[in-house]
Symmetry: C2
């Protein structure tokens, strides 16, 4: 038997094997899925080409329309207790 | 004794206690420190007020000048194997 804790939760009396996988892409990575073939994901906004007065851009790396925000930060925040939100670009 | 794995790394023959703390702010949170007193961190860019032709905005939640990017994504990517980078706002 052994005892260990994850995020403050104690896990006791483990008899055989426990597999803990923190997140796809490595412990403490914040982008599990988006364009993992790129060494660094950088995007550009050309402000002259913005069509709407307000465009939200994703900073949670969970959007289905990345680099745009599709509201997925709400699910991420609820699931994890996080408090991330988008960058609003206004013209 | 017991055996478990974290991020693909097996940890074997643990005899007493192991404490695994994933990240400040909860497992899988991506913002450990910035404005944790706010329920959701949202920022605005007014494009008419941009002073430079190119302004990088942080999407890694590690910048000392958040919401601006200060290059801290480089350290985060190296430490974790992640591939995050800024949003470049260009006028
Ligand atoms: S979906 Fe990522 S910040 Fe909104
Ligand atoms: S410091 Fe966060 S993206 Fe550059």
């Amino acid at each position: 038997t052994c005892s260990f804790g994850i995020g403050g939760v104690d896990v006791k009396r483990v008899r055989s094997m426990v597999v803990v996988k923190a997140e796809t892409g490595g412990v403490n990575s914040i982008n599990p899925d988006i364009r993992k073939n790129e060494e660094k994901v950088v995007d550009s906004v050309l402000v002259n080409e913005l069509s709407k007065p307000l465009t939200p851009y994703c900073r949670c790396w969970r959007s289905g329309t990345f680099p745009l925000c599709d509201g997925s930060h709400v699910k991420h925040n609820k699931a994890t207790g996080d408090n991330v939100g988008p960058l609003l670009v206004k013209k």
